[in-house]
Symmetry: C2
Subunit: 268 residues, 2 copies
């Protein structure tokens, strides 16, 4: 057990997304550098901090729809999150703004429901893809995002890991398995982060630098069972440097638990 764990028990994700309520719909957070991609905190991590404040402000447990903009680049350090609840009842909805100094870093809109109590028709019209099991996949380590990658056990399928060792596969996909490295089990609070955790699909289409996100939306569709999450990210339309990245997340029971989409843009 490290010194840090001795003084701050619990799991990395919960500790690093915790917020403190000042009782006025304003929350204080500490953005850590442990979820950095290069010098900047991962977008999904920042959204998770905002979601902690949102969840504390509404009466429903599950963030069924979450959208985020990133007006300026966040830095590790203190941050404030202001929440406004737009609606209570049926589904709750609310918006959150994370600021550092006078700068808005993240703006999140969210709709909360209770997936544990949801009843209605079900029809799953697409098959879950078959991947090689985690032990036959390629563990992501180091690379351009050493801090972020340490927080997870992430395994890319051999087909989609080739960009890292040889060259882009030619198919704009990134697939594999993921779980937290410290044993924290997945839940609906963690799914937005999971949906922003894989390397960009574009790495399998061309040699490129990082691909900044313009807009990020996640739909949480179920409460995940414990264990590995299976993820597939795909891009169909890269047009003049703009691309969508569409994600699907399944839990260890084989159920779809998240759908995501982001609009991103190549640099330069």
């Amino acid at each position: 057990m490290s010194d840090r764990e001795a003084v701050e028990p619990g799991f990395d994700f919960d500790r690093d997304t915790a917020v403190e309520d000042d009782g006025l719909g304003r929350f204080i957070a500490e953005v850590t550098d442990r979820w950095n991609i290069g010098i900047a905190p991962n977008g999904g991590y920042l959204v998770s901090v905002a979601l902690s404040a949102l969840r504390a402000s509404v009466s429903k447990p599950d963030p069924v729809a979450v959208s985020a903009l990133f007006p300026s680049r966040a830095e590790p350090g203190a941050a404030r999150v202001d929440v406004e609840v737009l609606r209570r009842g049926g589904h709750d909805s609310a918006v959150a703004r994370m600021t550092q100094g006078d700068e808005t870093r993240v703006f999140v809109t969210a709709t909360f429901g209770d997936l544990g109590a949801a009843t209605g028709p079900t029809a799953v019209l697409e098959e879950r893809p078959e991947f090689p099991p985690p032990e036959e996949c390629v563990k992501a380590e180091g690379g351009p995002a050493p801090e972020f990658v340490k927080r997870f056990d992430m395994r890319l399928t051999p087909d989609t890991a080739v960009w890292a060792t040889s060259k882009p596969s030619g198919r704009a996909e990134m697939c594999g398995w993921i779980r937290f490295s410290d044993g924290r089990e997945p839940d609906t609070a963690a799914l937005p982060l999971i949906a922003d955790s894989f390397p960009p699909t574009l790495f399998n289409l061309m040699s490129t630098g990082w691909v900044p996100t313009l807009e990020f939306t996640v739909h949480v569709r179920g409460r995940p069972a414990p264990g590995w999450l299976q993820c597939r990210f795909r891009t169909r339309y890269l047009i003049e440097g703009y691309l969508e990245e569409d994600g699907e997340v399944w839990d260890s029971a084989g159920n779809l638990v998240g759908l995501s989409r982001q609009l991103a843009r190549t640099r330069g």
Copy 2:
């Protein structure tokens, strides 16, 4: 020429989404009943009114990413739109809130860019579907949305129009062609409305009432050429009454110009 056109020239869409700036980042709008689905204004129409105010507040012309929540049901009549710009430069981003009385009707986040000046790599990795031409498709008329449908010339493919005349096709798709009935050509301002204009995909899966939207996101990916827009909406995952509706919009030149997704929920 009707009396109305005599006093208010121009196209329906532009006239009915116009806003008046009070000079303080606050806009006055009139929500008309001409885009109603039943007794409520269509969500894409309300988003378009908010976008008029947003577009007047930023320096970039094209709403490349637009997300919306609908905390309460709007009614035809006066509305106010408050805009806050979050970022200027590179891509502009801003949020807008439409209110009637004290109630927030729509909350929109948007990112604006200049698609006319965009340069970067292009790779279109999925084929555009082939539909029968508009004259071989089924014109949408009357039904549960008579006012809304009048604003368009909408043609459903025979395969996906069957719900209206016989029974659901069994495939959760809605496909076809659309243009404004008054001859207004499509542009990036109109694409969010277009992406919310077709009947719910669920009508081809089961007998169901209307399917309220919880969250709606559109990515505008190109400036459409004049003429028909080709649209495909599909649902893959209906889970305990929650479903996504994924849309693709192509212009008459065959280029993808919009991607949309909404999270919706069956009633009851």
